[in-house]
């Protein structure tokens, strides 16, 4: 049995509940958009992180393939036709008349056969290079080469040809319908498209809303059954055999392809809007240029605003960023964007950055302050500690940890001591990460800590730029003119 998520076992299906890091990193908002056309089945695949480095590489190779236009188009086309195929199946289930069920069944089979064939042809031409997609293609080829499939296909296509050949001319005058078999010339349609060359309207049947036959359709079907007894007999035979045309395994593979396709589609859309993505490279130390918060990018996109992007670099002997700076200065956003960087890297997908090198981390942990929970009844501090506990279990080494504002309710001194111990613990376990805090002292807590600051310009206005710098307390006085940045020097700076 092959899977597109892992070379070994059926992975990615063991987590059905949204993990905490989803809410902390705003991945829930992002995934909402990514999977909006795919639904919860695909969405849950994003919940579980791959368990090994091999799995990450396996996924990255597949995603690398899927980003290519030919493969993306082929799979997208197949995805779209399979959605229509699903609708046919729903029609079949809802139909009341046996005869109608048979016709829908035929339609379903025909849709599957043609789109599978089309996919096979296109994939063969595109020659995927990843292990996963190669296996997929092999599987398709093997399946379509079997004799029972070939026989089935021949029967479906011949029946289909006959059915779609039936045409009826219907003339309506106020007091009567006149029915005749045969084809028309589409004269008025032609006239309309001559008049309005750009129109794309279709003449819809008013009876499509319901599965049941309308009176008119009942009458038509009655006339037809009389005339084409032979066809309906053959259709009956075909239906009785109930050949399982789409095996379960195939449906699963389709969902798994949705994991890549949904993200690839989303990425394409964002790239059109000017946001950059890149495939992360594996290396020894974290280094990224132009990292931004994808969730913020989505909200700003609606408001037609750009997002600020930042760089990140951790040298081999450095472990933890400690980020301080003014309120509303983009601290949390930066922490979140690093978390997202690691998350998407681990998932084998492209990351929201201009350029990124990310080492392999065993796991990704996030700890964001939340509102006091009424449910648990715990105080905030206790709640924070409880949530910290699983992150400090045995075996959680070489992880990436994103911590946002710990111990804000504790006294300053306590908070400093506890914060320091948390940092020391993680650094001791060879974890890397980022710690956002108000406590300036933590930036010198221990070896391996890198102090970052959210920047302000000369007028104490937030720049949202994160840079390496000593933590410091805020100061500054405003005079009226300075407040509006209207002194000569300030103006010069504004114009520069």
């Amino acid at each position: 049995m092959i899977s597109l998520l892992s070379a070994k076992e059926n992975a990615g299906r063991d987590v059905t509940e949204q993990p905490t890091l989803f809410r902390d990193l705003y991945l829930d908002q992002i995934m909402e958009r990514v999977t909006e056309d795919w639904g919860p089945e695909v969405r849950t695949l994003f919940y579980a992180l791959p368990k090994s480095q091999a799995e990450e590489t396996y996924r990255r190779a597949i995603y690398g393939d899927i980003k290519k236009d030919e493969i993306y188009d082929a799979l997208m086309e197949f995805e779209m036709s399979m959605r229509i195929w699903k609708q046919y199946g729903q029609h079949r289930e809802r139909s009341l008349e046996e005869l109608q069920k048979q016709v829908w069944h035929l339609r379903e089979a025909q849709a599957y056969v043609t789109s599978l064939e089309c996919l096979k042809e296109k994939l063969e031409k595109a020659k995927p290079s990843s292990q996963g997609l190669k296996a997929l293609l092999e599987w398709i080829v093997g399946w379509t080469d079997r004799k029972e499939y070939r026989d089935f296909r021949a029967e479906v296509l011949s029946l289909w040809q006959e059915l779609s050949g039936f045409r009826v001319m219907l003339t309506y005058e106020r007091e009567r319908f006149t029915i005749a078999e045969g084809k028309g010339t589409g004269k008025y349609d032609q006239f309309l498209s001559d008049c309005f060359p750009t129109h794309e309207k279709v003449f819809k049947s008013p009876f499509l809303g319901s599965e049941d036959f309308s009176n008119l359709e009942e009458e038509l079907v009655r006339l037809f059954r009389k005339k084409h007894k032979d066809f309906f007999e053959r259709l009956g035979h075909f239906d009785q055999r109930k050949f399982n045309c789409v095996p379960e395994e195939h449906k699963r593979l389709l969902t798994e392809a949705g994991y890549y396709l949904s993200y690839a589609k989303f990425q394409r859309k964002m790239e059109e809007e000017g946001f950059l993505f890149c495939a992360p490279k594996v290396s020894d130390c974290l280094s990224a240029k132009g990292v931004y918060d994808l969730a913020l990018a989505l909200t700003n996109l609606e408001k037609r605003q750009t997002v600020i992007s930042n760089d990140a670099y951790l040298a081999p002997d450095e472990s933890f960023f400690v980020l301080t700076g003014p309120n509303q200065g983009g601290k949390t956003t930066y922490a979140r964007s690093l978390g997202q960087l690691v998350y998407f890297t681990k998932m084998g997908l492209d990351v929201p950055a201009e350029f990124a090198e990310v080492p392999y981390y065993q796991n990704l942990w996030t700890h964001f302050s939340v509102e006091e929970s009424v449910e648990t009844g715990r105080g905030k501090l206790l709640d924070e500690l409880v949530r910290l506990k699983p992150m400090m279990q045995k075996g959680q080494t070489n992880c990436f940890v994103v911590i946002n504002e710990l111990f804000t309710t504790a006294a300053n001194y306590d908070a400093n001591v506890m914060g320091k111990r948390v940092l020391e613990y993680f650094i001791g376990e060879h974890c890397k990460g980022i710690y956002v805090t108000h406590l300036a002292d933590l930036s010198k807590a221990c070896e391996g800590v890198v102090s970052l600051r959210a920047g302000v310009d000369a007028n104490l206005v937030q720049t949202y730029q994160i840079e390496r710098s000593e933590a410091k307390e805020l100061a500054g006085a405003n005079r009226q003119v300075e407040k509006y940045r209207l002194t000569y020097e300030q103006l010069k700076e504004r114009f520069a």
Partner: protein, 537 residues
């Protein structure tokens, strides 16, 4: 279809207005211009007579157009050319405007303003849409007729291209086709029984032919329309003997489904009929929508020119000479007999005009006696600039200036004096906003700015800000009482700075003329004080 009387390459859209148009309107008193635009005026002999009628839509259009500045000389010339054409053929413009208004009013009556969600589900709405379709097509026919009859004498590019466009996009061919479609669908709208002669009755009846398949679960699918026509048939009572006999014949004929007495089948038929008509209509809907937009734009754009004609009459009424301004380079600013037209209209009398030759002067500082006409002078430039930048004529014998799409006014708000402590703050806040929105080709009019603090402080603030702005290439005209500021600039003898002053004769009389003059340390306010107080005595 574009109307294109305002721009040659696009229709009017409300984008990139002046920054803070509200303040500009208030500072320059532009409401009076909108009032003038609304006054329907005619010439009787040499006298201008205003009719009782005020068309508020014309004022509205003037306001909307005026708040979006033109950006190039070509754009200004294009509009001026159209306006000249309109001034020469006032009646034609009026006709065109009234025709568009009439069509739009009829449309409103058919229920245009109803909630248009884009989903039509009832027969009644489809019938309304078809009526609108008919209305707009007949409106287009009238426009075409009017253009071909009276429009021959219009020579501006705007009008010429409009004629060509209408002739091309609503060609006879298109017209015939649309009329055919309307005719084919008329059975759906026109359900009355006609009586051409005594005892002869006719009604419209459809004949729709379509082709379909059954591949979608044996339901009617892949429909194609073969024919659609409206047939005039002698009317027969559907419950009469004749109809009954015909119904029986039908039900016995193979391949025919009689609808007589079969209620359920008749409902199906009605749905199918609706869908077919809706399909044909939806093919036309985009052209109908484009006609709708055409009339909206036509009404709006002709309203602007009508407003311009009315403004011209008001100027004529108050003996204000006007001219079409020339667009010069960014450094140019010169004018002869420039008048403040808003004040003229308000005071219903002639005002003093000013001459100016300020080419190359990046900064103009106006000082001088109180009540000497400084603010009036500043406003007259502002108003003329706004009028020029929307393609209108200006109240001067000659006016030449560059185009400044980034045009700002910063006037003291005297009405705010109650909240004295916050006033400087408010002024600085407005200045901050202006600075944030400066761009290329900026023009800033300052009237008594920073007078809400001490002279010394105000001068320092003004000096700093104005110096930085000037270095940034912003053109500044400022009226000021901050004499230490003016003196300081004067002593620096910078190039590109002009000093003007309200003229005051040696006996203290004010002529309201603004002339080149070095700044003096007094604004002769004391004299005014004496004057007022002595008259009290």
């Amino acid at each position: 279809m574009n109307v294109g009387l305002l721009y040659d390459y696009k229709e009017w859209t409300p984008v990139k207005p002046y920054f803070d148009w509200g303040s500009m309107t208030a500072d320059l008193g532009l409401d009076t211009l909108f009032w003038a635009a609304r006054q329907d005026s005619v010439l009787q002999g040499s006298r201008v007579v205003c009719s009782e009628h005020e068309d508020s839509y014309v004022g509205f259009a003037m306001k909307r157009v005026m708040c979006i500045p033109l950006k190039t000389q070509e754009e200004v010339q294009y509009r001026q050319e159209v306006l000249k054409d309109c001034l020469a053929h006032e009646e034609f413009v009026g006709k065109l405007y009234r025709l568009a208004s009439k069509v739009l009013e009829d449309w409103d009556r058919l229920g245009r303003k109803r909630n248009n969600t884009g989903i039509r589900d009832t027969k009644a709405e489809l019938i309304t849409d078809l009526q609108v379709f008919r209305l707009l097509v007949s409106g287009m026919e009238q426009v075409k007729e009017l253009l071909s009859k009276d429009g021959k004498e219009m020579h501006s590019r705007g009008f010429r291209e409009l004629f060509d466009r209408v002739g091309k996009e609503f060609s006879d061919d298109v017209q015939i086709r649309l009329e055919k479609i309307l005719m084919d669908l008329s059975f759906y709208v026109d359900v009355t029984i006609h009586q051409p002669k005594r005892n002869v009755f006719y009604s419209y009846s459809p004949r729709i032919q379509m082709e379909c398949g059954l591949e979608d679960g044996l339901k009617i699918g892949s429909l194609k329309l073969e024919s659609m026509e409206t047939i005039e048939k002698p009317y027969s009572n559907p419950y009469g003997v004749k109809a009954k006999l015909q119904g029986q014949v039908n039900s016995l004929t193979p391949g025919v489904i009689a609808l007589y007495k079969d209620q359920a089948m008749r409902e199906d038929a009605e749905q199918l009929e609706y869908e077919a008509v809706n399909y044909v209509y939806s093919c036309c809907s985009s052209i109908v929508a484009s006609f709708g937009r055409f009339f909206d734009q036509l009404r709006f754009q002709t309203a602007f020119y009508l407003g311009a004609i009315n403004i011209k009459y008001q100027m004529q009424r108050y003996k204000t000479e006007w001219c079409f301004p020339e667009v010069g380079g960014q450094e140019s600013l010169s004018f002869t007999d420039l008048k403040e037209v808003v004040m003229t209209m308000k005071q219903k009398g002639n005002t003093i005009g000013n001459d100016g030759k300020l080419d190359g002067e990046a900064m103009v500082i106006v000082t001088g006696a109180n009540q000497g006409g400084k603010s009036t002078f500043l406003r007259s430039i502002g108003i003329a600039q706004v009028m020029m930048q929307c393609g209108l004529m200006v109240p001067a014998k000659r006016y030449r200036s560059g185009l400044f799409p980034n045009f700002f006014t910063h006037f003291t708000r005297r009405e705010d004096s109650a909240m004295n402590s916050g006033r400087l703050d408010e002024e600085l806040r407005r200045m901050d906003q202006i600075v944030s929105n400066l761009g290329e080709d900026s023009l800033l009019l300052l009237n008594e700015s920073f007078a809400s603090t001490t002279e010394k402080e105000g001068s320092a603030i003004a000096y700093d800000i104005i110096k930085a702005l000037k270095e940034e290439g912003v053109r500044i005209i400022t009226v000021t009482h901050l004499l230490s500021f003016a003196q300081r600039v004067y002593e620096e003898k910078q190039s590109g700075v002009a000093f003007l002053s309200a003229q005051r004769l040696s006996d203290g009389t004010r002529t309201y003329k603004i002339l080149p003059h070095a700044p003096e340390m007094t604004s002769f306010g004391l004299e005014l004080y004496d004057e007022i107080l002595s008259s009290d005595k």
